[in-house]
Structure formats: structure tokens, C-alpha cells
Symmetry: none
Subunit: 221 residues, 4 copies
Amino acid sequence: MTKQSKSLPDAGRRNEASRKAILTAAFDLVGEVGFAKLSIEAIAARAGVGKQTIYRWWPSKGTVLFDAFLMLSEDHASGDPALPDTGDIEADLKTVLRATVDELNDARYDEPLRALNTEIVHDPELAAAYAERLHEPMRRIKRDRLRRAQEAGQLDADTDLDLAVELLWSPLLNRWLQRTGPLTAEYADRVVEAALHGLRPRTEAASHTRTGQAAGKPSRG
Amino acid sequence: MTKQSKSLPDAGRRNEASRKAILTAAFDLVGEVGFAKLSIEAIAARAGVGKQTIYRWWPSKGTVLFDAFLMLSEDHASGDPALPDTGDIEADLKTVLRATVDELNDARYDEPLRALNTEIVHDPELAAAYAERLHEPMRRIKRDRLRRAQEAGQLDADTDLDLAVELLWSPLLNRWLQRTGPLTAEYADRVVEAALHGLRPRTEAASHTRTGQAAGKPSRG
Amino acid sequence: MTKQSKSLPDAGRRNEASRKAILTAAFDLVGEVGFAKLSIEAIAARAGVGKQTIYRWWPSKGTVLFDAFLMLSEDHASGDPALPDTGDIEADLKTVLRATVDELNDARYDEPLRALNTEIVHDPELAAAYAERLHEPMRRIKRDRLRRAQEAGQLDADTDLDLAVELLWSPLLNRWLQRTGPLTAEYADRVVEAALHGLRPRTEAASHTRTGQAAGKPSRG
Amino acid sequence: MTKQSKSLPDAGRRNEASRKAILTAAFDLVGEVGFAKLSIEAIAARAGVGKQTIYRWWPSKGTVLFDAFLMLSEDHASGDPALPDTGDIEADLKTVLRATVDELNDARYDEPLRALNTEIVHDPELAAAYAERLHEPMRRIKRDRLRRAQEAGQLDADTDLDLAVELLWSPLLNRWLQRTGPLTAEYADRVVEAALHGLRPRTEAASHTRTGQAAGKPSRG
DNA sequence: TTCTAACCGAGACGGTACGTCTCGTCTTAAT
DNA sequence: ATTAAGACGAGACGTACCGTCTCGGTTAGAA
């Protein structure tokens, strides 16, 4: 579905200029007309390419779009592969989640991102590719920052870091996808706070000893 | 877009049998062929109805599907509109989230649910209808249970309950939509635990005021 | 394949304006680009019609062209359904065959006629329709004239009139189709003469018992 | 367009095996799928040859097919280049035309022959090549036999022999191409009889100067 | 009870896009 | 330099649906 700079089997006779023109056209068009109205015909026309050249290398318009994102992410992923680390995990997470909010609110990426996300929903194969090539690298970066916080004692030692990542980012992604509420910097802050401190009261007052003292879980921590 | 039992303007001469046949056909077909390949033609044919009868009452296939869900939810929502309350919020949430996991993993609802969710992503108007008619009622039920827990001192008094709902349910919905990991009962449990207790260590409240005395990472800050 | 003014099953909901536009466009286009390069797409575009409207009513572009000819022939067949009859069969046949020559040499009909004739060659079903709707009516007219000549004693009483028609017209059609020689009025005349008088010498001298002395043909007026 | 045994410019570096494979594949394929569905791609694939090798040496699929026929006719034309001559032209012509009927009815040659004939109809250049290389040689053979009959006094001395050939063979070719009637040995016989004896009554030479007295036509010759 | 207006099933219509096929050109690698 | 192989831009194929538009045939209220 994708193509590296060299030595892949399909790299044989492939026209690199056509490939790039197709991915660029696809990304631009999805932003203009949305994924539902995005057509292979239009991509081919915009890219100045025969339709068969698209069908030859991609099985669906979803995979074209995916490769378009891949190209984009490779372009500006060359820089820093790490999250900020000031030593204060809460502040750093707020910074990062606010940046995520800004990105999701960016009009240029809104439609393409929605398109990619909804295609993943319906195409397990594409979802796997997405998980491997785009999602996992970003998750690792996030996990790395959380691990350092954990090692610094700022996060519970037992916490599953993948779960932690999901606890932090899922609310944002869900609000954005489903438009169930405003997606703001304040929201990002409150998500970070809630995720870090938990929903329970922090006072040692055995809050759960009244009304159902059972099921305690006092041992943790 | 929807139809009440009486007195709505569109209730005039409408053929109720056709309406039900259309919604049933739409729901069945989306489970068989997926939303992308669902066509008005096929719905009309399956329902034994003229195409115009669909176009007369619904503006898009997304809204047809939405009404199909509405019909379904009205059918079996007649029962109890409340979450279990044993007095132990953690146990109750685990019960509920496990049920959510089961529902999302139910093959019969998988495709239709995904279809509805992705249509919402692209259609703000539909998203609003969804929020009002389907999402909000369920959120209120969840919020009610959390409020009782809050009043019982099992949840922090400051917590925004809508945020709490999102913190608890978003990770599940995200895993399901994006298939970024297995969606199991254990996962539900751990989400509940993490959300309630937070990611930070509970012992020393000051843990984030001082840094790094443990396990190295001396260089940072 | 064809359509009468009323009461045919397919006449039901059919749009007569579209039908005529399609046939006209097909006839014009085949004259412009030839049958091989004639495309359904182009016919539809020229006629201002959806492609499906063509596929709905005709199984192939050959049948479209056939109906175009039918429309044309119905248009100007309203007049005289008989060949000239001056009492002199030889003179009349020369008149008619010269007219045939002129028609075949008419640039406006050349390509369409060739197209129709070659389609018939490859499509037996179309050939049957052609035989019934276009060829047979003309053959009957020709046969009628020959029959009157036969009754007048100008043609042998034993002669099969269908065979006679073929003997007279086939050479013209063949020259035209295969371009094996010039198609002129003189050629028409000589075909008529040869067909009427035969290739044998007319002298009663048992011409095939001895050789070469004859050279006769004195009787020919 | 064609290829001689030696010394032609295109004979230079040409791969003779490929040429034969192409012509054989073309002939076989046209018999299997018909000319309309015959594609250069398929010929190349069947012949195990690159498409360019075909485009390099032939301008159209019609010319490929033509060369295929040429190859075939050269293969079995090595034998006798003359028509039978028993001294009885009528009997000999019947023999020959019956053979022609058999050939046209041969299923193996039906499609390819039709293909070649219809290509000639639309392609004047190909028609010229056909006339020169295939048609003319056969016409000369026929003409030769007719000339001997003419010299023997069995045919009218004035008769244009080319016209005579056309009078005899055109009806057969036409029936075959247009399927306007059964193509049988009897038909061949009657064509020969009609062409030789003419359509007019042979008895009273003046029959066309007066009209209608007879109706009798007692006996031919 | 008749009239009449809207709804209904059916499906033709002008279109767009599909995914496939073939065209004729061009490029590559291997003789 | 020619070949087999096959990618390429182009564009027609025949199909599937789109959303609109009649067409008769119900089906209800309103007259």
C-alpha cells in the first residue's frame, strides 16, 4: 500500500512523480469536497494521471488518503520525535494536549483527518496499517514521556502507560469526532487534571467507607 | 427527520407501514453491506417501496439510519432508564462498562453502530440530532449515577460530571472505533480504576511538587 | 429493438424526444467518425441523454444504428412504394440501378451504410431484423416490377424472381463494399444487360458443342 | 504491411518466429472472439510477444489479420492455380461455385473471413492491398477459365469477363455476408444457370419490343 | 358520497462515478 | 538494436445509484 524510497518490490517501474501528484491531489480534494464526494476520477484528473495508475497501486480511496497522510507525516516528522519535558508532567501534558486541540481545530486538517478516521472505522486492514505506521509511532512518543514521569515518581508505578495515553487523549478525539462539546484549551487542561488526579476525592477520608465500605482497594499506592 | 406518535406536521397522510419497512430494511442492509455500499435504491427495493417515498421524508441515507436507530432504541428503552446502584460506584461502573463492551462487540450492532458514528463525524446536523435524541439521554443517565456517587462522597465534589463521563467512556469508544487494541472486560475494569484513582501516586500528595529523587532522571529540571 | 407509433409494450413510459435525439445523433456521428470509433458515450453526449437511456432500449450500437436507418426510411418511404414501369424492363432496371449507384456514391450515406452492412455481417440477430424490416420490403418492390415484366413475357417464366433480384443488385453492392472497381452508371447498365441476356451466346448454334465460331449476339436490340 | 521471403527493408533484424506467432495468434483469436473483440493485447499475450513488436510492424489489427490470411493462402496456394476445365463451362462453374459455397460455410473460416471482409469495407488502403494480393490472383484464375470458354464459343464474345466473374460470384458472397438466404449447392447451380442463360426468354428475340402477348414462355432453348 | 389532493409503487430520465479494459506510447533489462 | 514485459495517460465500456420527474392507482379528509 505504501512505497519506500527504494528496494520495495513495487518500486520496480513505478513513476514517482505520478505517485506524489496523486497523493497531493487526494489530500487537497478531500479538504475541498469531503471524503464522501471524493472520487478516483477527480483525483486522477487533478493529478493529470490515468485512473488505472491509481487502481494499479491502491485498492481503495481510503488507502490513497492514508498514503497521503503518510507522505505528509514523513515530510515534517524529520524534526523532533519527542514531547516536551520540563520535569512537570502535568504542565507538559497540558501543553501537548492544547497543541492537539489546536491541530484538531485547524480547518486545513479537519476534513482530511475526519476522512482518515472514519475510513479506519470501516476498514480493519487500513486500521492495522494506520495503527502501525501512524498511530503507534505517536503513541510511543507519548508513552516515553509518561515513562519518564513514572520513573520520576510523578505517575503511579503500576499504571499501564498505554491505558494512560488513552485516558488522556480519547476524550479529546471523541469530542472532536462526535462534536459532543466544545474542544478548547480549558477542556484539555481539565482532562489532564482529571486523568492525573482521578475522579475520587484525594482526601484520605475513607470516602468509600461510608456507603459501601467494601470493595475498598486501600492497598494501592 | 423523525416521526412522533401523533400531531406532527408530517404525520398527516403518512403510511406508517412503509416507514417501518424502510427503517427495518435500512438497518438490516447496513449490517449486510456496510454503510458505504448502502443505497437508497436497495432500501426501497428491500422495503417494497418507491424511492420517492424515501426522498419525500428523509434528506439523506444518514438520517434514515438515524431514525432506524431511534426506532430501535425506543423499542427497548421502555424499560429501566437508570444505571445500577449498589452503593459502590467502582463496582457499578465496572458492571456498566463491561456491558458497554459487550454491546460494542455484538456482531449484530457492530456495522450499524459504526455507520451511525461515522455519519455523525461528517454531518454536523445529524450530529446535533444524535446528541439530542440518543447521546444526551444516555449521558444524563450516566451523570445521574455519578451524581449520586458524588453526593455519597465517592467522587470528588469538584469534578465536572460530563467530563467524568467522557473520561470513562471515551477510551472504550475509541478502541472500538479505531481498533487500536482489544476491547475486553478487563480493559473496562482498568479504565474504571484508572479514571477513579488517577494516574498519579496517591500516597504523597506532594509528589508533583518535588522531582526525581527516585530512579534517576537527574538531568531534567 | 424498434418502436412503433403506439401500443408496443416498450412504448409504455418511453420518452420519444430522447429516442429521436439518440437516433439522429447516432446517424450523424457514424458519418463523422465511422462506426469503429462511434461510441455510446458520444451518442449520449450529442443527444443530451444519459447513457443508461441508450442501454435501456438497445442492446448494442449496431441496433441503434439500425433503428436510425429505420427512422430515416420511414420518413421518406411514405411516398412511392413502386419501381418505375415504362413497359421496358431493361430500360427501367437501368434507371433503378443507376439510382442505386448514385445512392451508394452519396457521401452522406456512405459511412452509415457501410456501418450498417458490416454490423449485419457479424450479428445474425441484427441481420434478421435488417432482412425483415429493411431488405425484404425493398426486395418485394423489386420483385413486383420483375413479376410484371415476367407476366409481360419480358422475363423467362421459370426464373426465380428472388434470384433475379440478387443477380442484378449483388454486383453493385459487392463493388461498393469491397471497392473492387469503379461504381458507375455504365457499370449498372452492363450489369443489367448481362443479367438479362446471359453470358452465353444467344445463337441457337449448339454453342457448347463446338468452339469459338460464334461471337454472335445479333438479336440484342 | 507485409513481409516477403527476403530483401524487403523491414526484413532487417526482424524476428521471424515472433511474426509467425503473431499471425497465428491473430487468426485463431478472431475465430474465437470475433473481430470486434479482438485486441492487440490479446494477440500479444497469446503470441508471447510484447505489444510493441506488433505496433512496430503493423499499423492496425486489420493489417495483422490480412497478413495472417496471406500467410495462410501462401501455405496452401502452392498447388494448382487453375479451375477445372472439362470443356463444359456450365458444369465446371457449378463445381467451382459449389466449392465456394462449401468454403464459405466452413465454420473454421467463417469468422476470420467475415472479419477480413468487413475491415476491407472500412479501410480503403487495406482494400487495395486485399485487391492486389488476394482478390486479384483469384479473379485472374476465374477469368482464365472463362476466357477459355469464350474462345470455345461457350460464352458471348463481347462479354466483359470481369463483369462475368462478378455476376457469378457476387450473389454468393452477398448471401453469405448478409445472410439474406440459405447458401446451398442448389443455389450455386441456379446462379450459374441464370447468369449463363440470362433472365430473358431465349425464344423470341423481339419479346421486349412488344408486350404481354405471351405469358407462355414454353421452353427455354 | 363524491370530489380532490396527497401519498403510494413503479420506474424512466439526465447524470456522475464506478472499476475494468484496451488503446498506442514510452521505459527498462536482458539478450 | 530488438525483444518481452509492462507502466503510463487516455478514454470508452457497461453497471450502479443518484435525485428528479412523471405515471396510474389508492386513500383520506373536505365538500
